[in-house]
Amino acid sequence: MNPADIREEIADILHDIVPDEDLSQLDDEIAFREQLELDSMDFLDIVMELRKRHRVQIPEEDYQQLATMQSTVNYLEPLMKNLEKA
């Protein structure tokens, strides 16, 4: 998956977790938590969904890398580049 696909996948996951949020206005450089109503449980779900959908394992010490859309895509790119888009 290329970065654009990864970004779309994250947006898809976010839509699942917070279906009432408008993601079209999302700023990739600003922390998710500042733009969306996401608490730590929702955040865990992003990690869990990645594991469920793509078998991507993210260790707890790396959770902070997932603060913004841009940092998330950057973090996941090496882990997901060989995966097929679903």
Binding site: V18, D20, E37, M41, D42, L44, D45, K52, E60
Partner: protein, 464 residues
């Protein structure tokens, strides 16, 4: 081999099961009783449907609200707000002799009531509001402060203090007399600042929803299967031994049976500090009426009453203590807002709850037990009609449960509906891989139990 074995198919167990099954775990929920629900179950008697625990779902917030426990649990379980069919309360009241404080799902109602009935306390009340900590900001030190001490320092009219505490203790406090300030904040928000609601068909809708979701995700739910013991290996839980002798293995065991009840299933003497059992239990009288309650003037959703200026939240010394109680009319919710303007319950119903002493009920010989049920039915209702119009001549059918009934159907010690006074906030036990959720983990009520199941599943069973 299961990923997680869950003991108890109540709200917390089912919610935990959904979370784990959703993320692909092989989950088994074991329920001793022949039906689901535990402390918040339902039953049918003589052609009528009854709820066991439900008076109201607390923490009610309107559709679209993004914060608070209800919004959180809907997101976490991937359930839409509409699916729960929650109708808001019409309005409730704290009724002491000669004075009432009304409140509703609009917080301004309570504020204006305090302003008109305790005008000198209005500034103090505002200062108290500033002290009410948000759910996410509670730390242990703040949490464990005495609520009475904090409130009494700010609100200097003792009657107002008692009236504020009354509903919060009733809905519910596992400890006698006082509560942790953290617990006070949680209950204050869930009842006064958020609100009360009820699904048209009671708790069975919510439960059936949860079961359907759980099974749809591949979860296994087994009824009439009690757990005799937690199977252990060198202090780690490795599964459970059932009453019939069969053994199931699991990588995690999550129990909603209660901390004391769960520790009893562990045959190792690791518990130097034995958790204490809850001391507070209840009787509840259920009266079906020949008309809707508001037609005879009972138009409040919940009436929290107390017959003196001092509110006594303590274990009853007699079979029941009728100085205080809760009168719930499940009819008095705005069911019309759910779509069908004429929606209402088929019959009028009044439920009255009183504090009760489990040991005294439990040691009565069978014939005396039946007599005392009848006697106390009358006394509980006689106590209630001091605060609401007398509905007795409209009664067409009755039922009643005692602490013994609660114990019998939920297996919770002492029929302690709100569990043990000291909660296990992190859900851990002295044993590895054995965790608890539900009332004894910390949150009470339907929303509380669901959030508890979700939190404990997330924290302890999902991460590996």
């Amino acid at each position: 081999m299961y990923d997680t074995i869950i003991i108890g198919a109540g709200m917390s167990g089912l919610a935990a099961g959904i979370r784990l099954a959703y993320f692909g775990q092989r989950v088994c929920i074991l329920e001793r009783h022949y039906t689901i629900g535990g402390l918040n179950s339902f039953y049918r008697l003589n052609g009528r449907d009854y709820d066991v625990g439900l008076h109201a779902v607390t923490n009610f917030t309107p559709k679209g609200t993004r914060t608070g426990p209800l919004a959180r649990l809907l997101r976490q379980l991937r359930i839409r707000w509409d699916e729960l069919l929650l109708a808001p309360q019409v309005g409730s009241v704290v009724a002491f002799p000669d004075i009432e404080l009304h409140f509703s799902n609009e917080f301004e109602k309570l504020e204006s009531e305090i302003n008109s009935k305790f005008p000198s306390q209005m500034d103090n009340f505002r200062r108290l509001l500033k002290r009410i900590v948000d759910y996410n900001d509670l730390d242990q030190v703040v949490y464990e402060m005495s609520a009475r001490q904090v409130v009494e320092e700010i609100v200097d009219d003792p009657l107002l203090v008692e009236m504020i505490f009354c509903p919060l203790m009733w809905y519910g406090n596992a400890r006698e007399h006082d509560m942790d300030f953290g617990q006070f904040c949680i209950m204050f928000r869930s009842i006064y600042m958020e609100g009360l609601a009820r699904p048209l068909n009671g708790v069975r809708l919510i439960l059936k929803h949860l079961v359907r979701k759980f099974r749809g995700l591949g979860g296994e739910l087994v009824l009439r299967k009690g757990v005799e013991q937690i199977a252990m290996e060198e202090g780690r839980a490795i599964g459970v031994v059932l009453d019939d002798g069969n053994q199931l293995t699991g990588r995690h065991v999550l129990s909603s049976a209660g901390i004391v009840e769960t520790m009893r299933m562990c045959n190792e003497s690791r518990c130097e500090k034995n958790p204490s059992v809850g001391q507070l239990s209840f009787v509840e009288t259920l009266a079906v009426l020949d008309q809707q309650p508001r037609q005879i003037g009972c138009d409040r959703t919940i009436v929290f009453f107390n017959d003196s200026d001092k509110f006594h939240w303590e274990k009853s010394t007699e079979l029941c203590d009728v100085r205080t109680g809760v009168i719930c009319s499940p009819n008095n919710y705005a069911y019309g807002e759910l779509g069908d303007q004429d929606a209402k319950l088929p019959e009028g119903m009044m439920r009255v709850t009183a504090l009760a002493n489990f040991q005294r009920w439990n040691t009565l010989p069978e014939s005396e037990y039946r007599v005392e049920k009848l006697r106390w039915f009358d006394r509980v209702i006689a106590s209630a009609v001091r605060f609401v119009p007398d509905f007795r001549r409209h009664i067409v059918a009755t039922d009643m449960f005692t602490p013994k009934t609660i114990r019998r159907f939920t297996s919770h010690d002492n029929g302690a509906v709100y569990g043990a006074p000291d909660k296990q906030w992190d859900g851990t036990t002295p044993f590895e891989n054995l965790y608890i959720c539900g009332t004894d983990q910390g949150f009470v009520g339907i929303v509380g139990a669901i959030v508890s199941g979700i939190s404990m599943a997330n924290q302890h069973c999902l991460r590996d």
